[in-house]
């Protein structure tokens, strides 16, 4: 069983953290991952920076631009992560836009992920239909779980389709927005969370976008299995550095 699937069997609300690889400085990647695990985070999304991150707001855009300036590339990231499984046991997911993966070669990319011990991928601009037709067999060959997004605008029919293609969890985008755009949840989110919970999907859901603290984490995980924090974490490390990450994580999970 894949580490992600094992983690999803634990009876707790999962906290997943997104960060941009190579940020704040190029060689921070491994330290951030190790410190997040020590701080008690359940899962990590390692962001591959991209020059044109369409679905991201200013915080992740800025960290991506900085990471690229620092010299981050797909090859550099794989090199940094080559011994990561000697020190880290929690699930690791690579998250990035499709073009850099396409240029690396999708199969070569997947093979490298398996070799390193990456458990899954989130590729916001690889639509589920294209994945199913062209790439699913490759991902499965290397034991990688591909995670798809749904939003409040996604139809029930399409959610069922995405659920049928998924084999880990579904990434529930909390509102129609780019990352880091909104904070706090209102009635619209409550209704959406309830609607999805009532669908009894085969894959558990983890909520992302708009989660920044204990309150939003709790709201998001009332029905869902876990929640993902990205922009708020990147803001934290850009002002406080990467050393004492329990300062950020503890108030959320305590």
């Amino acid at each position: 069983m894949n580490r992600i699937q094992q983690k999803l069997h634990e009876h707790k609300k999962l906290l997943s953290i997104y960060f941009t690889a190579g940020y704040p400085t190029l060689n921070d990647t491994v330290t951030v991952i190790e410190n997040l695990e020590k701080a008690g985070v359940d899962m990590i999304e390692i962001g591959l920076p991209f020059s044109d991150p369409l679905a991201d707001g200013p915080t992740i855009q800025a960290s991506s631009t900085q990471a690229l300036k620092n010299g981050m590339t797909t090859t550099v990231l794989f090199e940094q992560l080559k011994d990561i499984r000697k020190t880290v046991t929690i699930p690791l997911i690579a998250m990035g836009y499709f073009n850099p993966m396409l240029q690396y070669g999708v199969e070569a990319f997947c093979a490298k992920c398996k070799e390193i011990g990456i458990d899954g991928l989130i590729i916001p601009d690889l639509p589920v239909d294209v994945y199913q037709e062209e790439y699913q067999t490759i991902f499965e060959k290397y034991g990688l779980i591909n995670v798809f997004l749904i939003t409040p605008q996604t139809s029930d029919e399409r959610i069922r389709f995405i659920d049928s293609v998924s084999n880990g969890f579904i990434y529930m985008v909390s509102s129609a927005s780019t990352t880091g755009a909104k904070s706090g949840f209102g009635n619209a989110q409550s209704n959406y969370f309830e609607r999805i919970a009532a669908m009894n999907l085969k894959n558990p859901q983890i909520v992302g976008f708009g989660i920044s603290n204990k309150q939003t984490f709790q709201q998001a995980t009332q029905q869902a299995r876990g929640a993902i924090i990205g922009s708020a974490f990147i803001k934290h490390i850009s002002t406080n550095g990467i050393a004492n990450l329990d300062q950020f994580v503890n108030p959320i999970i305590s």
Binding site: S51, L102, D125, V130, L149, S177
Partner: protein, 393 residues
């Protein structure tokens, strides 16, 4: 071999809709409706009426006598520069605003590089009384001040794109982000034959009025509907797509594209996407684009703000890959000289984008009885400062 789009939204291997799930409902709504709406008699009637009475179509097909003499062939200019707002861009914005209305949208967003598409969008929004937000790179805002002023006068809000390289590709990113944040009431009027399916096809079809008119006008003037060559400049490629459309499947008609080589194809400052680009994903479609080995999209350069896009529409990638299109690239200098030559020989000052198409004669010799149609995509008023600086006028 077909050069039209297939049912999945691809031209050969290029096209598709590589979009985040957040955009899926918007793009899917458009995909399901665009052909149906365009085929409605009431849509056709309103579209054609506006093209005639508001834009001033049909645009003339002008036999350029002195230019023809100089290059010893028969050159016709399709005068898109005489359209209202000064370029071909308005053909598409008229079509898309009517589409947006029929889809019940209340708010229009657009990206712009040189400002021509922004102006054309602001114009149709004023015409229809709709809210208009135009994203424009901070650098382009500085170098295209008159067009920014025009958009403001037309009631549009111009928002500077401050991310990345702060030019057209970043303005496009910002417009897409706006659409993600406003998925229900907003329509995104993309200005070129790029973006996720169905945009390249929809924009091409709205621009296809150019080749439709060429056929009937040429029939009248030359007794044949088909020229030997159609020629257009290419950035994203909307005027080219419209100029080629009705000739795509007739291989007796040669298709010629002229890209911007900037300071030279291999100078590091160029926008010659077909030569320098590799297959990849930009702004929702698979096409040829300029990028690093690592797949990061690079910043193109051209003296013309309308051609410095790092990608090219998927139709054109297909024409390039299959050899159906002949592709050339003209440097800044070649384009500027070609623009000056047209002014001196024919009394027409072209947009610098268009000047690239006119520079084709540096690369290709035509036969005396060839009929060559060049899309004169825009007028040069907006570029006067560039011409002044370049030629010390």
């Amino acid at each position: 071999m077909s050069y039209n789009i297939n049912e999945k939204g691809y031209y050969g291997e290029f096209g598709g809709a590589y979009i985040p799930e957040m955009l899926y409902p918007n793009v899917e709504e458009l995909r399901q409706n665009y052909l149906k709406v365009m085929a409605e008699p009431s849509f056709q009637e309103e579209f054609n009426q506006l093209l005639k009475d508001y834009v001033g179509r049909p645009s003339p097909l002008y036999f350029a006598k002195r230019l023809s003499k100089k290059y010893k062939t028969k050159i016709y200019l399709k005068r898109e520069d005489l359209n209202h707002t000064g370029a071909h861009k308005v053909n598409n914005t008229i079509g898309q605003i009517l589409m947006a209305q029929r889809l019940g949208k209340k708010r229009i967003i657009a990206e712009t590089g040189a400002g021509q598409h922004g102006v054309a969008t602001a114009t149709v929004c004023a015409l229809m009384g709709m809210e208009c937000i135009v994203y424009m790179g901070e650098i382009d805002i500085a170098r295209q001040a008159p067009n920014v002023a025009r958009m403001k006068m037309l009631g549009a809000t111009v928002i500077p794109a401050l991310s990345g390289s702060r030019t057209l590709k970043d303005a496009t990113n910002e417009a897409i982000r706006d659409w993600i944040n406003n998925p229900v009431d907003t329509h995104y009027i993309i200005g070129s034959a790029i973006g996720p399916h169905p945009y390249p096809d929809m924009v091409t079809k709205f621009q296809s009025i150019i080749s439709e008119e060429i056929k009937s006008q040429l029939k009248e003037k030359e007794g044949t509907e088909n020229p030997d060559y159609v020629i257009a400049c290419i950035g994203g490629g909307s005027n080219a797509a419209g100029t080629y459309y009705h000739f795509l499947e007739n291989e007796d008609v040669g298709i010629i594209a002229v890209e911007a080589a900037g300071k030279g194809i291999h100078s590091g400052e160029s926008a010659a996407t077909s030569v320098l680009g590799k297959e990849g994903i930009i702004h929702g479609c698979k096409t040829l684009l300029m990028q690093t080995d690592d797949g990061q999209i690079t910043e193109p350069y051209s003296i013309s703000a309308g051609l410095d896009y790092p990608g090219v529409g998927p139709l054109h990638s297909h024409l390039y890959r299959t050899g159906r299109g002949e592709f050339y690239s003209a440097t800044d200098d070649e384009a500027m000289q070609a623009g000056l030559e047209l002014a001196k020989l024919e009394g027409i000052i072209p947009a610098i984008e268009t000047s690239h198409a006119l520079a084709v004669f540096n690369y290709k010799t035509f036969k005396p009885d060839d009929i060559v149609v060049i899309s004169l995509s825009g007028r040069g008023d907006k570029d006067l400062n560039n011409y002044i600086e370049y030629f010390n006028l």
